[in-house]
Structures are given as C-alpha cells and as structure tokens.
C-alpha cells in the first residue's frame, strides 16, 4: 500500500484477489461468511482497495498487480473489518455528536478506524500490508476503539504519510463519487448486513478461544453494546426511589380536590413524599478512592434529580463494621472511614435501624463480602465494582457470595 501511482491499463486480476481471499479465509475461518458476502467491483478511482456501506469491495487493478497475494489477504480482512465493526455507522454518530464536518475529519476517522483494526488484525497467517496504519507509530496505545483514538490525535506531520488513505464510505461514512450507492447492483440491505454480522458474531461466540480477544469482545458486544453504568445505575435508583411508598404517587391519605364534585366519595390525591436514600459504601482496602468518589457523586446527583433533598441522602461507610452514619450535605466532604476487611451486613443493619428508615439502600461495593440472609424491608440497588474473582491464598475454598437476587445489580465500569 504505497501512494497511488498512475492507474495502469490492466484488467483487474480477479484470480489473484480470489486466491488472496482464499488465504484470508484459511487464516481467519470465523470471518469466512463476511469475506464471501463482499461483492467485488473493479474501480479506477480508488487508490488501493475500499468498501462501501452496502458491502461492495472496490479494487484498483494497478494496486492488485503490484501487491503480493499474502498482503492482499491482509487487505481483505482489513476492509471487511471496517464493515463488521460498523465504522460507517459509528463514524456518522461521532460526527453528529461532535459537530464534525468535512473531508479532513473523515480522513481522521478513517485513520482512527484503521488503528482499531490493525493492532491485532495481522500476523498468525496474515501478512501486514505495506504502509498499514499503526497506533504505535502515531504514538498512541493499541487495543482501543475508534472513538477513543479520535480524541487523541489531530492531522499533522505524523499522519501526513496517510493523506492518500481511502477505505471508502464503509470506513468513515462519507459517500464517495465513485461508489455505486444505495441503488447500485449487488448491495446488501440493512437487514442483510445485520444478518451477516450476526452470523459472524455467533460463529465467534460459539467457538470461544479461536479468535483473538479483540474479535471476541466485538462478537459479545456487536448487538448488545454495553450501556454506560451511569445510565443503568440512574435507572435502577430512580425506579427504586419512585416505587410504591415513595415519591410522587396517589395516596388516600388526603382526599383529592376533585372530591368536591363527588360528595361522599373518597378519591386519592397526588402526594409527594421525598425518598430517603441510604448509601452503604464499602470502604474496605479493595475499593479505590477514585472509584468510590465517582460512584458516590453519581448517586447523590441522581437522588437530587428525582426530588430527594440533600439531607435525605445518608452515607454509611462500612468495612468489617459500620463506621459512621452521616447526612450528605456536601457531596465532596464525606469522611470515608475504614480500610480493613468487609462485612456489609453491619452497614445494612445500621441503615435499617435509622429512624425514619430508608426507602432505598444503595450499596457501592466490589462484592467481596457476605450479604444479609433475608431481604431487607426496602428496595436495594447494588453498584458493583468489577473484580476478577481471585481465590483466597489462605482459604482456597473461600468464595465471596454473589449479590443476592432481591437486589438490582449494576456493574460499575471505568469512568465514562
């Protein structure tokens, strides 16, 4: 893949390209369906090879002539990866969210998408095409997503050698003049595209361990992108706080104003009882302050958003024993005490003993703790910091209990 020369007047060597696809299928059997679904189109305008979002693959005859079969195999896998990873859809979304326009931004997206693909696409039976973009050469870490790379680099001297790069609208979402477009022949419809991606994902999920980690992660998330934990935690807390017995709802405690028109009938009226939220924070050594800080601020913000006043949010820090119970008056000013082993049951007890009692208990923990045997009298939301389940050296039989089924569990990931 060197810069484009003058197009030669040769016919496209389809046989060479198909031999390369054959080799790509042998090296990456789990991508076979996707590779075979591509429709090959000869094009004189494309510098090397490119794809559009309808799964057509454009190839320049000059490029195919000067590139060895083993490198062409790498290019096939590279181009089909753009489509499988939905770089056009993600590129469009990113452009819309960040107000990006213009050809230069799309080139940046193409480079970022290439970084996402190339860090684990080659090797192991596939040759790296000459001049392929590499995050390390741009001074970036590998193993990240297109969106992350986009935040980290600008077009400049480092990217100059890629200025000719063009993987087509399949890589960045911008339609090119030489593409056949939605009306052209042999395009795949949205449903067909999803079906191909789904079959590939299923193939990878069905035989774990055969594909590289990057592909396994893709297959897991292809149709269920992970939702940001803030949204999930917010949803869980909101629904717990708004459930029966708390928040805005109808109650027979006082008659409605409409009762005047219906003498003798008691109608319920809308009453507001702000929810009391107790946050039990696991302050044992295994949870870091940064993790706790961001999660705690989140809980406080959500509770305020649903109408709880600050003084109705109470924080119980807890390791082996409940250490302190204090109202959350300043979000940043909570002294979190503790640091030893964990027994959250004492935290639950402290929260439930309080008068007036809590409507919701939110537990922030890494889950390395015993849980109460019985369901507490109020709703429970668990924000779980992910930990790899490690066996205890001193007690090989020790397994921390999983959060109980009566709690709503949200896995809290990296700060997003």
């Amino acid at each position: 893949m060197t810069a484009p020369g003058r197009p030669e007047r040769a016919q496209l060597d389809r046989e060479k390209l198909f031999a390369a696809r054959m080799q790509a299928v042998r090296a990456r059997p789990y991508l076979a369906t996707a590779l075979f679904a591509l429709h090959l189109v000869e094009s004189r305008q494309v510098p090397t090879m490119a794809v559009d979002r309808y799964w057509r693959c454009y190839a320049s005859s000059a490029f195919v002539d000067r590139t060895p079969v083993e490198e062409l195999a790498g290019v096939w896998v590279h181009e089909v990866s753009h489509l499988l990873r939905d770089h056009h859809g993600r590129g469009d979304r990113y452009a819309r969210e960040h107000g990006l326009t213009g050809r230069a931004e799309r080139l940046r997206m193409n480079i970022a998408a290439d970084c996402e693909i190339n860090d684990d696409a080659f090797g192991d039976g596939l040759a790296r095409p000459e001049g392929a973009v590499d995050p390390v050469r741009l001074g970036l870490p590998s193993g990240k997503l297109m969106e992350e790379y986009l935040r980290w680099f600008r077009l400049g001297p480092r990217t100059e050698e890629y200025a000719w790069l063009d993987c087509g609208s399949g890589a960045d979402g911008l339609e090119r003049g030489w593409e056949l477009g939605p009306e052209g022949a042999h395009g795949l419809s949205a449903q067909e595209r999803d079906a191909v991606r789904f079959r590939v994902a299923q193939g990878i999920n069905g035989r774990p361990g055969e594909a590289p980690k990057g592909w396994e992660r893709w297959a897991e998330e292809a149709f269920h992108p992970p939702q940001p934990w803030r949204e999930l935690l917010g949803g869980a807390i909101r629904s717990a706080v708004c459930g029966g017995g708390a928040g805005d709802d109808y109650s027979y405690g006082r008659p409605a104003r409409r009762s005047a028109s219906l003498p003798g009938v008691v109608l319920p009226a809308l009453r507001r009882r702000p929810p009391r939220v107790f946050v039990v924070v696991d302050t044992s050594g295994s949870v870091s302050d940064t993790e706790l800080g961001s999660a705690l601020l989140e809980v406080a913000a959500i509770t305020r958003a649903v109408g709880g006043r600050k003084d109705l949010v109470t924080v119980v820090s807890c390791d082996a024993a409940a250490q302190s119970v204090q109202p959350l008056c300043r979000a940043e000013g909570i002294a979190l005490l503790g640091g030893g082993g964990t027994d959250l049951r004492t935290g639950f007890d402290a929260a439930l003993r309080a008068r007036p009692g809590p409507d919701v208990i939110v537990v922030l923990t890494d889950g390395q703790t015993p849980w109460p045997k019985a369901r507490p009298s109020c709703r429970t939301v668990v924000g779980l910091f992910p930990r790899s389940r490690k066996a205890n050296e001193n007690d090989p039989d020790y397994r921390p209990d999983a959060p109980p089924s009566w709690a709503r569990v949200v896995e809290i990931g990296a700060p997003s």
Partner: protein, 414 residues
C-alpha cells in the same frame, strides 16, 4: 412610527396578516418515501398487538400516528397520560341514591364513551412514562385488557402507547419483564434528512402496506413453518428471561412473544413487506438475538433445497451473494455425503462447475475438496471436472502465499 401607526388599520387586521403568514407557513407538500418504521407500526397495529413506541419527545410520533390513522381509515384519539389521574382510566365512582343496594358504578371518561359508541378508532396513549406510577398501572390495564372502568373497548379499536427511553425518562419509569413481554417494542428515531426536507416544505408520504386477500393462507403457512422450524432446531430460544440490567424492560423470547412473532410474520408476508420491516417487528418482539436468528433461518428457507438442485443440476439457479452461494454448495455436498450415490456425486460436480462459471471461484474450493474425498473406488472422475482448473490454480496460489509467509516467519509485521 407615530404617523404610520395612527393611520394603520385596526388591530384585528394585524391578526388577519398573521393568519395569512400562518397559512403560508402551513403550505407544505409531500413526497413518497419508503419508511420502514411506519410500515412496521402499521403492520403491528393491523395485527392488533399492543405496540409501545420508544422515542424522545418531539420527534414526530404524533405525526406518524396521524398518517397511520389515515391509512387504516380510523379516527384518532390522543390521550396524554401524564395529565390524567388514575381514576380517569379505572373509572370515576358515581354515587347513586342507594350505594349499598345498587353499588357504585365506575363512570368512564367521555373519550372512551365516544370510542365505544363509534365502535372503531385509533387510541394513542402518549407520554406513558412521565405519568405517576398509579396512572401507569391503570393505563397498562387499559392497553392489555382493553378496559376503562366498566367499559370494554370494542375489537375495532386499536391502541398504541408511547414512552420515553429509560435514560431520558424523568422519573425512572420502566417495564417489568412480564409486562415488557406483552408489547411489540418499536424504537422511534428521526431521520435527519427527512426532518430537514420537511422543514424546507416537503414532508414524506409513506405508502403503507396493504394486506393481499389472496395471500392469507400462504402467509399463515409460511409464518408457522418459519417459527416452528427455528424453535425445533433451537429449543433454548423458546423462553429466555432477560438476565442483564441493560436488557431490562426490553423485548425477550417466551411462548407468548413467539406467538406474537408468528402473527407478525403472517401479516408482513400477506402485505409483501420487506425483510427490513420484518426485522424491526421481530427484533421488537423477541429481542435482537432470537430475532436475528429467526431472520437468518428465513434467509436459509429462501435458499434452494439441495435435493432439488441435485435432481436437476443443469437448470439450477444458484444465489448471487457469495456467502449464500457457499452455504448452498456446502449443503449440496453434505447431502451427497449423507446418501452417497454415483448419480448424486456426478450431479454435485456439475453444480460446482456451474458455480465456478457463474461466480467467484474461491467459494468452490472447500466444497470441491470435500466432494473429491467422497469418491468411491469404482467411480470415475467426470469429464466436467477439468473445467475446475481455475479452482485448483487459486488454491495453489493461496497455498504458495501461505508458505512464503511461513518461511518469512508467521509473525510478519508483528
């Protein structure tokens, strides 16, 4: 300013000018444009299944409902759930002379009475998720049981509900899994291009699907075959509760939602709807994973039967798309393997030759090698196989490239 305003006409005339400006603003045209989400909504409503539209406020759900009501020729009644009280849906108690003897009847609201009297109509329950929980409970009963107080909505009334997505709902509304399982969930998104063109004066006009009376029997047979075929092969898909927090409140597979899917496939087939529309409906009823599996098995149902191909290899039509063609060829070779006979083996070679002559040759490499390995000692290689030389060349080139790579150290570039 002073002189002019003194001689200016009376203020009512100012309103006339405003009216003229408003008339000008309202002059918009329409253009035909395919709209998959509106088609999906039409089919689900025609099938009389409870539909839940998920969409941010202000993206044209009401406009879509107006178009739908036109297409189905039903009068539209919109009820904004968040401004009502629970008793508006469960009925207002009206006390008579002797409540102990006659009981207290629950009087329905006027729009419900009008709907029942008309016998038909489209009821749109908007803003379901911003209503207080007690109102939501009353509304769900209305959607699922079609009851308002003492009234029962007649079968000619169709109901559509709309809710904001969980992340933007103000007070954490969500459906429990059993309730979510009763709805067809449709994600309502706006198309940037449509909005811009519409504000420029041209709104889209979708041609909505019409059921073809000739197709009904066939549609039911097709739908039954599709769902039963999949569930026979994949019993684990029959019932699967949503496990993760992220999928709560969304569609999931159960015998009930599979039955709804069956209904929707029949309606989509009878209307000749595209697979894209069917995809929205099926994934909105049983969820993405099972829905995509169903669609994949529909794609396989469309493929030619290997036995038919073997019976008439000369007249065989192979699919154009490479991946589909490859699964057909694999199926043909598998059929020969399961019942190896001389004629079938020869017929399979003829098919492979046809495949090479009409499409990409690399698809044929694996089927050809497998087929060759099925040869019995007394079977002679058919003459047609000579026309597969292209396949051998390609396979050889791929082999040599792999060998070069291995010689250079397989980690080339790493």
């Amino acid at each position: 300013m002073t002189e002019k305003s003194l001689t200016a006409p009376a203020p009512t005339a100012q309103l006339d000018v405003a009216d003229r400006l408003l008339t000008l603003l309202r002059e918009t045209g329409t253009e035909p444009r395919p709209d998959s989400q509106l088609e999906a909504l039409t089919l689900a409503v025609a099938a009389d299944l409870p539909v839940l539209l998920w969409g941010e406020p202000g993206i044209g759900k009401t406009a879509a409902l107006t178009q739908l009501a036109d297409a189905l020729d039903l009068p539209l009644t919109t009820v904004i759930a968040s401004v009502h009280e629970p008793s508006d849906f469960s009925g207002l108690p009206v006390v008579g002379d002797d409540p102990a003897r006659q009981g207290v009847p629950m009087a329905p609201p006027d729009w419900a009475v009008r709907l029942v009297r008309a016998g038909r109509g489209l009821l749109f329950l908007d803003e379901l998720s911003t209503a207080p929980p007690a109102v939501q409970a009353a509304l769900l009963r209305l959607v699922l049981e079609r009851r308002i107080g003492a009234l029962r909505l007649p079968p000619g009334v169709r109901i559509v509900a709309a809710a904001n997505p969980r992340s933007s709902a103000a007070d954490g509304w969500e459906l429990s899994p059993p309730l979510a399982n009763r709805f067809v969930h449709l994600q309502w998104v706006h198309d940037h291009e449509v909005v811009v063109r519409g504000l420029g004066g041209t709104w889209p006009r979708a041609t909505l699907p019409r059921l073809d009376p000739e197709q009904l029997g066939e549609a039911v047979a097709f739908a039954r075959r599709a769902v039963c075929g999949l569930l026979t092969a994949r019993p684990a898909l029959v019932h699967r509760l949503p496990s993760s927090e992220a999928r709560r409140g969304g569609p999931w597979p159960s015998p009930r939602s599979w039955e709804m899917t069956l209904q929707l496939i029949a309606f989509a087939t009878a209307a000749g709807a595209s697979r894209d529309v069917l995809s929205l409906l099926v994934r909105g009823t049983v969820g993405d994973g099972p829905g995509l599996e169903l669609l994949a098995s529909l794609d396989r149902m469309d493929l030619p039967d290997p036995e038919d191909l073997l019976a008439d290899p000369a007249g065989a039509a192979l699919p154009e798309r490479g991946d589909l063609r490859q699964s057909v060829l694999d199926a043909v070779v598998a059929a020969v393997r399961s019942r190896p006979e001389r004629e079938r083996w020869d017929a399979a070679w003829t098919l492979l030759v046809r495949a090479v002559e009409t499409g990409a040759p690399d698809l044929v490499v694996v089927p050809a090698m497998t087929l060759a390995s099925l040869r019995r000692e007394d079977w002679e290689v058919p003459a047609a196989v000579e026309r597969l030389t292209g396949v051998v060349t390609i396979s050889g080139r791929a082999d040599r490239a792999a060998a070069r790579l291995a010689a250079a150290g397989s980690g080339a570039g790493r």
